[in-house]
């Protein structure tokens, strides 16, 4: 069920250039299930900034009723978020949307992420591993300074890193790595910039894949029609990223 809760900030860390890891606690965590779902965060009690910010759930700890978000503090709202300290409260609406269908993977899955699309793949990797699925992580970042969670992913499976400037791992995009890897997986899951999602679908036309999309949002729950995309189904068909997604099977969304 979707809840709105003033959650307690437990920890906030700067983990890479402009990247923060924020852990909060509250009973809303009881409602969380699928990796790839997101929350809609109100960063201040003021109406400036007005809108909530959609942030993916990066990892869930049901026992301690905590979950973690990883975000880039770039614009006005996320910068305010980055000022929160342990003990502060933030207003969280969630969990929202439909996440990655972990039950679709059979033996081995590719998890392909770019930049701030990487965070939801971490909870996904954890859940897949606990189901006995082997995960391979192909992660793209701007530069060495922007990389986060490399060790954490490595602990869960093979991890390949690409950086645009070549300062760490393969130089270029995740697709450069994909070209080198055997297609020995049954399912892929991907989250990142739209161009990356396009490239990944292009690379594996025969595979079962699931992609997480981004759109500017208003309500975050399906009521305002801000976040729609057309689909391949028909001329008049469309989906809402916030409530029908953000995760969709490959080949469905026209982005």
């Amino acid at each position: 069920m979707i809840k709105q809760e003033r959650m307690k900030v437990v920890d906030q860390q700067s983990i890479a250039k402009h990247i923060f890891e924020l852990t909060v606690e509250g009973s809303l965590v009881d409602e969380m299930a699928e990796p790839g779902q997101f929350v809609h965060v109100r960063v201040a009690d003021s109406f400036e900034p007005l809108l909530r910010r959609p942030i993916s759930i990066a990892s869930i700890d049901k026992e301690s009723k905590r979950f973690t978000m990883i975000y880039r503090a770039e614009g006005r709202g996320t910068q305010i978020l980055a000022d929160k300290r342990a003990g502060d409260e933030i207003d969280v609406l969630g969990p929202l949307g439909h996440g990655f269908p972990v039950e679709q993977a059979e033996k081995k899955a590719f998890l392909i992420g770019g930049g701030i699309g990487v965070p939801p793949l971490y909870e996904l990797a954890k859940q897949l591993n606990s189901r006995g699925i082997e995960t391979v992580h192909i992660l793209g970042f701007e530069s060495k300074q922007a990389i986060f969670y490399e060790e954490k992913f490595k602990a869960l499976g093979d991890t390949h890193i690409a950086t645009v400037d070549g300062s760490h791992g393969t130089e270029g995009f995740v697709t450069h790595i994909l070209n080198e890897l055997p297609h020995d997986f049954d399912t892929y899951f991907s989250c990142g910039p739209t161009a990356m999602l396009e490239a990944v679908q292009w690379a594996y036309p025969q595979k079962r894949g699931f992609l997480s999309y981004e759109q500017r949002m208003g309500c975050g729950i399906g009521a305002c029609f801000a976040c729609v995309c057309r689909t391949t189904k028909s001329e008049t068909d469309y989906i809402k990223v916030c409530s029908d997604g953000p995760v969709f099977p490959a080949g469905v969304v026209i982005s």
């Binding site: 069920m1 979707i2 709105q4 109100r42 109406f47 400036e48 900034p49 007005l50 809108l51 909530r52 709202g77 609406l93 759109q215 500017r216 949002m217 208003g218 309500c219 975050g220 729950i221 399906g222 009521a223 305002c224 029609f225 801000a226 976040c227 729609v228 995309c229 057309r230 008049t236 469309y238 409530s243």
Partner: protein
């Protein structure tokens, strides 16, 4: 006991609070969060004759204390609204105000005729003011004579009272209000969004794919309040006021300025529970202010 009820043409409201059109879909999403029967009424998303896909994305952008939207009247079309959305809403004890949009007078007439037959539709809200459609919409709301004739045409076919939704993007909103009054409108809803724009300073490109969008939220409240005040002073029509309402004192302001009921739009996105929260706080706030009923408060700014 504080009397929270409001009676205006077609509507016996248990309280004066309702979500504004386009900010609440057809109710399904918010129904996951709370019982919609608490609401005074629901203004559903604009309905057009045909299914509409609306504008390309991005469709929303944030501004200082406000937001721009250019959804472009996306909706499943008259048939689907009549056969599926409205029947679904019947499970709640809440009157529906159907928001009607179109490109030609014939469009408006067709939607108004059909949708007003639904048992739970107690009033129509004729959206002559949407800034996000290229044809029709906007001119209906800016020319008094055109607005009057459209009102007449819709009144002729509607089975329920007709409220006209005014655009704030006009030189003289009172002249439009008077024109729709002449045309036989039963009430007015106001205001729709102000036409605005945001650019990305990095690229110079408009953030909204449609280039311009409608500005809503707390930023526009002073303009909305001024217009409600002017129109309520110069026409006899009941007004459902809106524009930037986020809390109970905003509601007090709109009622004071002359609105009989108040709609909440953008604030639903910020706090999805805003409508029931305001409804919960209203009786105590009225009591603090020394009023026993909503009715007493309506238009008090004119009586000072």
């Amino acid at each position: 006991m504080i009397d929270m009820t409001v009676k205006i043409p077609g509507l016996e409201l248990k309280n004066p609070i309702m979500p504004a059109s386009g900010c609440f879909g057809f109710g399904k999403e918010y129904a996951q969060l709370y019982d919609l029967s608490q609401l005074g009424a629901i203004m559903i998303k604009a309905t057009t004759v045909e299914t509409r896909l609306g504008n390309p994305t991005p469709r929303v952008a944030e501004t200082s204390s406000g937001m721009l939207n250019a959804i472009g009247l996306q909706n499943p079309g008259l048939e689907s609204v009549s056969n599926s959305e409205l029947p679904w809403l019947e499970q709640f004890d809440v009157p529906i105000i159907a928001n009607v949009a179109g490109t030609t007078t014939e469009d408006y007439v067709e939607v108004a005729r059909e949708i007003s037959k639904a048992t739970n539709v107690h009033a129509l809200e004729i959206n002559i003011s949407c800034p996000n459609v290229k044809k029709g919409g906007i001119t209906f709301g800016t020319d008094p004579a055109v607005a009057r004739e459209l009102t007449r045409a819709v009144k002729e076919v509607s089975s329920v009272p007709v409220y006209i939704k005014l655009s704030p993007n006009v030189t003289d909103i009172v002249s439009i209000a008077k024109a729709v009054e002449e045309g036989g409108a039963d009430g007015i809803t106001m205001i729709n969004t102000l036409l605005g724009m945001r650019l990305d300073p990095k690229t110079g490109r408009p953030v909204i794919a449609n280039i311009t969008g409608g500005l809503s939220g707390p930023a526009i409240k002073p303009v909305a309040l001024r217009m409600v005040y002017e129109v309520s002073k110069q026409t006899q029509l009941p007004i459902i006021g809106m524009g930037g309402v986020t809390d109970v004192d905003d509601v007090i302001d709109f009622l004071s300025a002359g609105a009989s009921a108040v709609a909440v739009g953008t604030a639903n996105f910020v706090n999805p529970f805003v409508c029931p929260e305001i409804i919960g706080k209203l009786p105590e706030r009225l009591h603090e202010l020394g009023y026993d009923s909503i009715q007493e408060l309506i238009g008090r700014s004119h009586r000072l």
